[in-house]
């Protein structure tokens, strides 16, 4: 059997629906149609009344989930694309995220965001939105990079008593495959050393993990051992694992697919600089997308995002110091 990243997301939702009667799914076209990406295929048939088609109303979708969560349900809301979640953002940042601290009562819900760039999808179907959600207090923001994590982290997200933003990467949906679903998993809040090495720590998350791994492979051919740390969850950030890695390597490159100003890569570099200054043998560096909207034409898109080639070049720079 071969299971894709998307299959894993579907399977996790199915398991959650099966195991917990308080779980329900809400989103545009998620019902009979199975969702724009088929992440909820057949679930409406199997769990009647619990996989619900919503109108095109992102604000109300999130608001409704907040209300349902306050009333003890565990809604999983699918945005058709992460990019459209700006319309539901107010309910997420100001309502879902503030409920626990303001009232002491939990607001357990998951917002699934099909995220990230794919060729030809352009400025409004390619965004990575973890920065915005992570900046505001009260949310957990997950960015799984593997089939196994897509499954186990989504299950953990649904089980959590906090509102979780679950950033799935569309580029991984179909291509990334695993042999089987995991039966146990590292906790979602822990970063993972995806490839050990001792020369540079390359911190990445989501699709960038695979670009980083490819770059590491390339540099292995040049005699350099790159350690790739997969953040898995960007809020809260597992600083310990990052610092432990930098303690081994003395060098850091943080990679993010989102824009350069103030994203997860800035946060990683800032933390390492503050808390691990003495561990560093070279200036910690960042690599991000270019600071423009995400281009529609694949030629431009390929140059806009960090790729294995660009990561490898950045790693060589870090090594050269």
């Amino acid at each position: 059997m071969s299971i894709t990243y998307l299959d894993a997301i579907r399977a996790a939702q199915e398991k959650a629906l099966r195991d917990d009667p308080s779980v329900f799914i809400y989103g545009q076209d998620v019902g009979k149609f199975g969702g724009a990406f088929k992440a909820t295929k057949n679930l409406a048939e199997k769990y009647p009344g619990r996989v619900i088609d919503s109108p095109i109303s992102e604000d109300a979708m999130v608001g409704l989930a907040v209300g349902a969560a306050m009333e003890g349900m565990k809604p999983v809301v699918e945005m058709q694309f992460a990019d459209f979640s700006t319309v539901g953002l107010n309910q997420m940042l100001n309502h879902a995220a503030t409920t626990y601290w303001r009232t002491g009562r939990p607001c357990p819900m998951v917002l699934r965001l099909p995220s990230g760039g794919t060729p030809g999808s352009g400025p409004f179907h390619s965004q990575s939105m973890e920065t915005i959600y992570s900046h505001y207090p009260g949310l957990v923001v997950m960015t799984p990079a593997t089939v196994e994590d897509a499954y186990s982290m989504l299950l953990e997200a649904i089980g959590m008593e906090d509102p979780v933003v679950f950033c799935e990467h569309k580029l991984l949906y179909y291509h990334l495959k695993a042999e089987a679903l995991p039966s146990e998993a590292v906790p979602a809040f822990r970063a993972h050393v995806a490839r050990p090495g001792r020369d540079v720590t390359c911190v990445a998350y989501s699709a960038m993990v695979h670009e980083a791994l490819a770059a590491a492979e390339e540099l292995a051919g040049e005699g350099h051992e790159i350690e790739v740390v997969d953040l898995r969850t960007v809020k809260p950030l597992d600083t310990d694992t990052i610092l432990a890695s930098v303690a081994r390597t003395g060098r850091l490159l943080a990679v993010g697919e989102s824009w350069p100003w103030g994203g997860a890569s800035a946060e990683v570099v800032a933390r390492v600089a503050s808390e691990g200054f003495e561990l560093l043998d070279a200036p910690p560096q960042r690599l991000n997308a270019k600071d423009t909207p995400i281009p529609y034409h694949p030629n431009l898109w390929a140059a806009h995002r960090p790729t294995a080639v660009r990561i490898a070049a950045a790693l060589r720079e870090v090594l050269r110091y």
Binding site: F24, A60, M61, A68, M73, H95, W101, R102, T103, D162
Partner: protein, 315 residues
Amino acid sequence: MLRARFAEDKLASLYRAGRIVGGVYLGRGQEALSAAGGVALRKGDVFAPLIRDMAGRLAFGEPLIDVMRTYLGSRLGPMKGRDGNIHRGDLARGILPMISHLGAMVSATAGVLLAKRMKKEKGSVGLTCLGDGATSTGSFHEGLNVAAVEKLPLVVVVADNAYAYSTPKDRQFACADLLDRAKGYGIEGEGVDGTDPEACLDVLGRAVQKAREGSGPQLVVGRLLRLCGHGEHDDGLYVEKELKNSERGRDCLSVMEKMTQDRGMGKDWEKWKEAAHQEVEEAVKKASEEPVPDPFEEDWRATRTQGAAEAWVEE
């Protein structure tokens, strides 16, 4: 209504004396409509009040002491000083703690009702209040539309006081009457003179009843004026004189008083007044003496899940 009015009068004077933490936004003149909502609901229902719903809150059963705790900054209030005043709520009592963003509570209340339906809890109604200005928000539209699609037992009460802060209604919408919106959502609606306590009880009772019986969302538009500024920092001078002097500018409490007297209950009215006064004063006194929040004892964690979770293992 009386308790609400006296409580608010007291808050206004405490505000002027600089004793209030945060702003003070009153519902003066809007008590009849608000209270009617609270009266129409019963235990197990959900109430999502807005800033002018002191009367509805008290009628629905919010303890006066919790009101004063919030305004006076007691740590024992329902929000522990983390959030306050008009935002206070108590999920255990079915009072949703509003966020400031107007319109946002419509879909949230719908969500509570959807959850109750999924949990097979039957017969609960949700009631949410907003002003004429809040109907211009996308949230109001999306929330009401979703509730209509799901045919949820939601009552949306619009207190049309002809102004949103200083903005008169002709700068807010172009329809003749906000009730004209009901048909566009495929729901029922009814208008009411918000200065007439009996009419309010009647119309809101009916709306809640219909929602409870499965007729789907109900829109109620009450016409009235707020007889105070937007907040106590505002003199409200922009409200047109003509409007103020019209029927719409009546004080529902005077209407109520007259009604009571006409029915020969003038003495009762005086007694109620006295009781309400006393209750308010006691609550203020009690809340004033309570401890304030202490930043060093505060739990500064915005999520319930803390640190790394335990390893997840398939059962």
